[in-house]
């Protein structure tokens, strides 16, 4: 009895590791084989994002998988769950596995550096998606990200459009520790400042608060701002969760008829909120394109072709008109 119990974890693991092998993709047979000792698959592309619980990163992962398998690569996806230590361990595991290329969304743009250096030393090319690695002495072969500054400009234009000729008072919910979100606010302000020089109906930024990129803090900061500014007209939040948190606070204060909210990202619940009229508009990112293009960079690298090391994918504006046409939404 005791012996059986001791064995249980191992038995459990056997069954479950057996099921976990779904990442072993079968590569299509290659044609034009030149040489009898030639390979059958082109190798493994390994992907470690910040987390897979955020749909943004899992959509990138899905498209990396699809594009990689289409081109004859195997794909290995792991989830560090925002923990840079776990992510570094995963990169070490990739190196031990001698993968063909590593695609990375750094959990921390500095701390991940030594792990990337280890991959560099092993000769494995490293690519980044969405967020960059800013550590010293690392070699990143390619990067695909969103043009966050241009996305911020789109948000600024949408804001001017939403407020109309009279202009109005705006609250910004930012996330200063994320470089991408700082760029969004910079782009937003550039458009607003240019507008204020020419137009009569000025758009005045009355407050910039930390929204922490989540609903809880977005709600709290907005609730405070609503107390301080009785005449607030609009809110720009740097992502959907904080925009939705802001909406909750606005609704609680019964001011949803007057206050317009602009978010960012275009996650599913953000899009739904736009359709329901809770959010005015979102500059949206395109994780599908990001996943596809990063694999294209890997393929070009592997083929020894020259390529532009950085691709920025423009954000596009998503309003109620687009939401009404969107088959994804209820």
């Amino acid at each position: 009895m005791k012996k059986n119990l001791t064995l249980l974890p191992a038995i459990l693991l056997t069954t479950w590791l057996g099921c976990g092998g779904n990442q072993e993709a079968t590569a299509p047979a290659n044609t034009g084989v030149n040489g009898e000792n030639a390979e059958k698959t082109k190798g493994i592309i390994a992907y470690t994002p910040q987390t897979l619980s955020n749909p943004f990163f899992s959509v990138i992962g899905d498209h990396i998988r699809a594009e990689a398998e289409k081109n004859g690569y195997e794909i290995l996806i792991v989830d560090p769950d925002y923990d840079v230590k776990k992510q570094s361990d995963q990169i070490d595991d990739f190196i031990a596995k001698n993968v063909t290329a590593i695609v990375l969304v750094p959990c921390d743009r500095l701390s991940v550096g030594p792990a990337v250096q280890a991959a560099n030393k092993a000769g494995i090319p490293v690519f980044t998606v969405d967020a960059k690695c800013a550590a010293d002495g690392v070699k990143i072969e390619g990067h695909v990200g969103t043009d966050n500054f241009q996305g911020g400009e789109l948000a600024g234009k949408a804001m001017i459009d939403a407020l109309g000729e009279k202009g109005g008072k705006v609250l910004i919910l930012d996330l200063k520790r994320a470089h991408s979100c700082v760029l969004r606010v910079d782009g937003f302000k550039k458009v607003i400042n240019a507008h204020n020089k020419e137009a009569d109906g000025k758009v005045e930024i009355v407050s910039e608060l930390d929204g922490n990129g989540d609903r809880t803090k977005g709600y709290q900061s907005t609730a405070d701002a609503l107390q301080a500014h009785e005449d607030l007209d609009a809110i720009f939040a740097i992502n959907d969760p904080s925009a939705l948190g802001a909406y909750t606070a606005v609704k609680e204060a019964n001011r949803e008829a007057k206050i317009k909210i602009i978010g960012f990202d275009g996650q599913l619940d953000g899009k739904q909120a736009i359709k329901d009229g809770k959010i005015y508009a979102d500059p949206i990112q395109h994780p599908d394109k990001m996943g596809k293009q990063i694999v294209q960079l890997v393929i070009k690298y592997q083929a020894g072709e020259s390529f532009e090391p950085e691709t920025l994918i423009p954000a596009t504006l998503y309003t109620k008109a687009e939401a009404d046409q969107d088959p994804e939404l209820k």
């Binding site: 390979e39 792991v78 560090p80 921390d108 701390s111 030594p114």
Partner: protein, 444 residues
């Protein structure tokens, strides 16, 4: 009688058995074709090429850059040249370098000798390139013969596993002692972050913004470790003087240390401007063993001696078994408790320094939930939360079990939330086994 012996054997070494079984299972599921990269493999490959291509053949050597790759290429080159073949060029580099080298061939190229990665490149690119460059029309690519071997059992991977558990395992030494006294320390995860931040800040202060010297690094580490030892001492003091349950005291310390780590670092990771700081976390000096692993094994050896051959070791067991009886027989119960919490804090501080060294950064976010991994390692290692029982090497085995499972799941690509479920199941089973074991011992 015989029955009793196997029972004892199983209860003493049951988790070693589980560890071995896990290794076997993971070896089987990570079995994969491997392309050898040794110099012997290069010699074999050269022999095959010489046999197939004959003398006077033109050969290009293409190998992906990386550690040890230059030797592989050189061995190929020397062996082939010795056999009289004409090596036109040797490239250790990126696919772009390979493409350039192929374009530069002036005479008809007969053979490309490659490693696994460049073989994939040749397979893909040769058909097109041969249209562009007539010199490549009759070129054949060769790579070393593949063999089946588990990814898990590769030397680099096994060293990875040891390296990855080293922080948790080292802190688990202190935690084992704390738990044997029937206590608990929830603050160790936060102390990792706190120690890392204090170390990084001390180094910054000591070097005055300039490049820190090795002396600055050592002093900084000492500061981080010492501060955490003092915090541990404070914890022990609160537990003994005010008789507050360890769970509550360490819960409080956990929040305080985490908060202070963020305040002192102003919520941003603090980089350490000297690559030499990575020595402890990423270096490997002794026979290829990572320094963190050597340190771990050394500390386990010392801890084992302390627990089995010294009076303080016996006191720790006595306090956990029955504090009142221990006090009456002259054991300084309070000092023993202060000692174990101080040691636990000190080791957590050391863990924080190792973590900071791994990333060359003092990061206030590091160490999150590590306390639970440490407790899990201790429990899986067979130490009873009721106190009085437990073995230091059992904890090492517990840490290994957790590390091996994690590594196995990463190598096969199991997603993070499923990993969490598996950890939970393993911990529950370990505790169940522990309970049944105790019951069996009582009835015997």
């Amino acid at each position: 009688m015989k029955n009793l012996d196997t029972g004892k054997l199983l209860s003493d070494y049951g988790n070693v058995l589980v560890l071995l079984l896990l290794c076997v299972v993971i070896s089987v599921v990570t079995l994969e074709e491997q392309s050898p990269r040794s110099t012997a493999a290069a010699e074999n490959l050269a022999a095959i090429i010489v046999g197939d291509a004959g003398k006077d053949a033109n050969i290009l050597i293409l190998v992906r850059r990386g550690e040890g790759q230059q030797e592989f290429a050189n061995t190929l080159k020397n062996t082939l040249s010795k056999a009289g073949l004409n090596v036109t060029d040797t490239v250790v580099g990126t696919p772009a370098d390979a493409r350039a080298a192929l374009g530069k061939q002036t005479e008809a190229l007969d053979v490309i000798a490659t490693d696994e990665h460049m073989a994939a490149f040749c397979l893909e690119q040769l058909p097109n390139l041969s249209k562009k460059y007539p010199t490549l029309a009759n070129t054949t690519a060769y790579q070393p013969k593949k063999h089946l071997w588990p990814n898990f059992l590769k030397k680099e991977n096994l060293l990875n596993v040891l390296k990855q558990i080293s922080v948790v395992a080292i802190i688990a030494i202190g935690m084992t002692m704390v738990i044997i006294t029937a206590g608990i320390d929830l603050s160790v995860g936060s102390l990792i972050a706190f120690s890392g931040v204090i170390t990084a800040l001390s180094i910054q202060q000591l070097s005055g913004g300039a490049d820190p010297t090795t002396g600055h690094l050592v002093l900084g580490c000492a500061a981080g470790i010492l501060v955490c030892a003092l915090i541990g001492m404070g914890t022990g003091g609160l537990v003994t003087l005010f008789n507050i349950p360890a769970f509550i005291v360490t819960l409080g310390v956990m929040f305080i240390a985490k908060g202070l780590a963020f305040i002192f670092s102003q919520s941003a990771p603090i980089p350490i401007a000297n690559e030499g700081f990575a020595w402890l976390g990423r270096g490997s000096d002794l026979m290829g063993l990572p320094n963190s692993v050597v340190l771990m094994l050394l500390l386990y050896g010392i801890a084992h001696v302390i627990m089995t051959h010294t009076s303080i070791g016996r006191y720790i067991y006595a306090v956990g078994g029955n504090p009142e009886a221990a006090r009456l027989s002259g054991v300084p119960v309070k000092w023993v408790l202060v000692f174990v919490y101080t040691l636990c804090g000190l080791l957590a501080g050391l863990g924080g320094v190792m973590e900071a060294s791994l990333h060359i950064t003092g990061d206030p976010k590091s160490g999150t939930l590590v306390e639970l991994q440490v407790i899990a390692a201790v429990v899986v290692g067979g130490t009873s939360l009721a106190g009085g029982q437990g073995k230091i090497f059992g904890t090492l085995v517990g840490a290994l079990i957790i590390g091996v499972i994690r590594n196995g799941m990463n190598l096969t690509g199991v997603e993070a939330h499923m990993q969490s479920v598996v950890y939970g199941v393993v911990i529950l089973i370990a505790v169940m086994v522990d309970q049944l074991k105790n019951r069996a011992q009582k009835t015997n």
